[in-house]
């Protein structure tokens, strides 16, 4: 069975460090397997292709927020360095503000993170709905990756539901129903 299970894009964390920390989707011939860390719980859920009613993508401001936080943190460290250097009257010391080893060590990763975040593009919230359940797909939180995943999911779901559209077209004239007892 394992060879018929395909990884759906997204969920780098799950691929790198495993599903205890990450979250990822897998596509099998008849269902989508949602597997991994959802905060404090570990989840393993199957969404059958024939049951999926809707997938929605909704852009979020998370990318903007992350960039803003990282940039302001970097700026804050620079300001702090300036203040410390000014107080200790060593502004003209080796390296100055920007090449100060401590500052560089802190600001470089922050700036790197901000740039990486910008490169990864807009963030979004992806939700897969069935009649009974709405799955917030954490691994599809970047638009580019989510759209790529949809390219894989959509044909599979349409293929699985091909019969449904036909069934629906049949008019249901015979509606009278004698209350049937269910199983005890």
């Amino acid at each position: 069975m394992a060879d018929t299970m395909k990884n759906i894009p997204g969920g780098l964390m799950a691929r790198l460090v495993g599903h205890a920390q990450g979250y990822a989707l897998h596509l099998t011939p008849d269902h989508v397997l949602c597997r991994g860390n959802t905060g404090l719980t570990y989840q393993h859920r199957r969404l059958f292709l024939v049951d999926i009613e809707q997938i929605t993508l909704q852009r979020t401001r998370r990318a903007l927020l992350i960039t803003a936080v990282l940039a302001s943190l970097a700026l804050g460290v620079l300001v702090l360095t300036y203040a410390v250097l000014a107080l200790t009257e060593s502004l003209n010391g080796p390296g100055g503000i920007f090449l100060n080893p401590v500052t560089l060590l802190i600001t470089a990763p922050l700036c790197g993170g901000a740039i990486l975040n910008v490169l990864m593009g807009a963030t979004c919230r992806t939700i897969i709905r069935t009649r009974a359940h709405s799955e917030h797909v954490k691994s599809l939180s970047r638009e580019r990756i989510a759209l790529r995943a949809l390219k894989m999911l959509e044909p599979a779901i349409r293929e699985a539901q091909r019969g449904l559209a036909v069934e629906r077209a049949v008019p249901d004239t015979e509606q009278e129903d004698d209350a049937l007892p269910g199983p005890e």
Partner: protein
């Protein structure tokens, strides 16, 4: 039959052509870029006509629960014959309600953790996250204690604090 599409964020109505879009487009109401993909399952409403049982002929196999109904399919789990009323089709397989109830109980009770036995899905505590959180909390709690110990021993060594 088709219900109008609504925005996942503000629940406002979407453009009539929203279903055919392939990229995120702003919602007419809240301007949030969205993409809504509908599948046929959305329109097979729960009010679809219930399956009608076929009255059993003499000598024909009958439903385990209804002896007057012809059996349509066996439950893939317990093997009992089921009529059109009792058969529950799920993910391309047939189950009886008794088995579904049992699966549900097992999943709820957290007994059944084997992925291949879990029918609908399951959730359990993520121990790795819990342990990491625990270490973090303990670390924070220990910080003042360590600081205090260092200060305590430094005061003995006579070094100025």
């Amino acid at each position: 039959m088709k219900r109008p599409q609504t925005c996942p964020r503000c629940s406002g109505p979407l453009r009539p052509d929203a279903a055919g879009l392939k990229t995120l487009t702003p919602c007419p109401a809240c301007r949030t870029p969205i993409l809504v993909l509908d599948f046929p399952a959305l329109y097979t409403s729960p009010s679809a006509p219930p399956a009608r049982p076929v009255p059993a002929m003499e000598g024909a196999a009958t439903c385990f629960y209804h002896e007057k109904h012809t059996a349509e399919a066996p439950c893939c789990h317990c093997g009992r014959y089921l009529c059109a009323v009792c058969a529950v089709y799920l993910g391309g397989k047939v189950y009886c309600t008794a088995c579904l109830e049992r699966f549900d109980e097992q999943v709820r009770a957290g007994k059944d953790q084997d992925p291949d036995n879990i029918l609908m899905g399951a959730q359990r505590w993520n121990y790795t996250t819990l342990v990491l959180l625990g270490v973090l909390v303990l670390g924070f709690l220990a910080l003042p204690i360590i600081a205090f110990l260092i200060a305590f021993f430094l005061s003995f060594s006579g070094a100025p604090i």
